[in-house]
Amino acid sequence: MAGTWVIVEQRDGNIRKVTYEMLSEAKKLGDEVSAVVFGKSVEGLASEFAKYGADKVYAVEGDLFAEYNTGAYVAQLAAMIAEYSPNAVLFAHTFNGRDFASRLAQKLEAGLATDAIAVELSAGKGVFTRAIYAGKALAKVEVATNPVMATIRAGVMEVVESAGAGAVVKPAVAATATDVYQNIKSFVPTVSARPDLTEAETVISGGRGCKGPDGIKLVEDLADLLGAAVGGSRASIDSGWLGHELQVGQTGKVVCPNLYIAAGISGAIQHLAGMSSSKFIAAINTDPEAPIFNVSDFGVVADLFKVIPTLVTELKK
């Protein structure tokens, strides 16, 4: 086989954990593993990828690649694929990853499996398991176009350290300014000391049962104690208690943390779609019939306004 490429997700040198998850998984599959990293100056990151098994690191550098930009990135990666012929190219299933992979796949008239949660690769063929209907069913699909392409869901694959050579390759720059068709005016990072919702080990979510900002504050206090991300049901997003980017569910984010705590969330089917594959689930709800208890490992039928403060005290002990 001609190797598996993992497209690195990074901004300002901060590498998304899903990159390491993909590298670890690719390594497990046996073929030569390469990390492909784009940025203004990114060669220095190579050792980071070598730690998780990258045999090679393609460092695509230049002002043109300083920020993700579909036109330039697609033109560049298409040229590199033509030159080096990788067997498979894996992207993260982030907003950028799916944008990048979709446009590239169409340019190459190739198939693409998005949001894959399991990967099998062989020469010229990939078999991927995808969650469909927001996780209510699974589809196993085969992609046999060249190269095999998929976007991988964050948080599913295990990060395993294993030394790779990390040999840096500087591919020729094929993209030019004329490939750019989106004029990026600004990027304003979400100011939060909390981890990213889709990458967090622990997520604490608040729903309508939080009744307002005071209840959400309790959820946030618990999250901060645990270094967790905060999420919410659509009810608390629609009420304006939390930003839309924090919605968990079918029309929000799909999360699979180690621990998910639902506070004051009934467990509507659209919410469950976004969190039911979490490893451990706890629920705090006053209604013993709430459907969230059907998926929770530890449920307490009690008032969150009383439970969370005591929980915080107990955890601190």
């Binding site: 998304r16 579909t70 036109g71 982030t94 907003f95 950028n96 799916r98 944008d99 979709s102 446009r103 796949a105 169409q106 340019k107 190739a110 998005t114 949001d115 078999v127 469909i132 209907y133 927001a134 209510k136 069913a137 699974l138 589809a139 699909v141 085969e142 046999a144 068709y181 989106q182 004029n183 990026i184 005016k185 600004s186 304003v188 979400t190 990213d196 645990l226 839309h244 980017e245 180690n258 089917i269 689930i281 013993p288 059907n294 998926v295 929770s296 490992d297 530890f298 449920g299 307490v300 039928v301 009690a302 009383k306 439970v307 969370i308 005591t310 929980l311 107990e314 955890l315 601190k316």
Partner: protein
Amino acid sequence: MKVLVCVKQTFDTEAKIELKDGKIADAGINLIINPYDEVAVEGGIQLKEKKVVDEVVVLSAGSDKAMDAIRTALAMGADRGILVKQDTSADEYARAVALAAAIKEENPDIILAGHVAADDGSSQVPTRIAEILGLPHINVITEIEVAGGKATCTCEADGGTLVAEVALPAVISSQVSWNEPRYPSMKGIMQAKKKPVTTADAAAADNKVTIIEYAMPPAKQAGIKMEDEPEVCATKLAEWMKNTVKVEV
């Protein structure tokens, strides 16, 4: 200016998914416009209300049933519809080829679609359409400003908010937080019946992705559920978090 909105008919998000003969059972399931596309329809109608565009065309590729999705969009306020008849087994590539061919005939200034479909969750089709047509695209928008032959969009991005501008014509995909889709009024529903809908056959294209099998995810077992004084519950929950989940504080 003309806006064209791509809509996909999907299962209601309430639908319980079951397998029948190895396929996803569709009997008795309520069909809706993909919620992300519904937001795109609303966005298109608002552009017309703001006099940015003067026509809103809805386009759907699918079975005859997808006519209902088109009629719903017309009842919301779109002007006319196009149904491209295509087998629902078409993959993202074949779907994009069919839609792009129909779009080319229409020559719209703005092409809107939801950034992802609630059924297959693929998030590929709008971007693929843009590539086929050789047009710029912007995904996951939450705001749009159209002026001087350009669209300036605010987008939900990884870890932040992005503002980007593209020259029109362009393909623009919506995030659900862009707007709150209206319910069709009684008057709108009546008018929709009279609005023109043309049908066409899909441009031929073979799938690039093959579905091997469908399966149900492993059922999650309900665990402990305790009813007691809140303080007792909290103490037990803390113990479980420390001993079983092994959280670190």
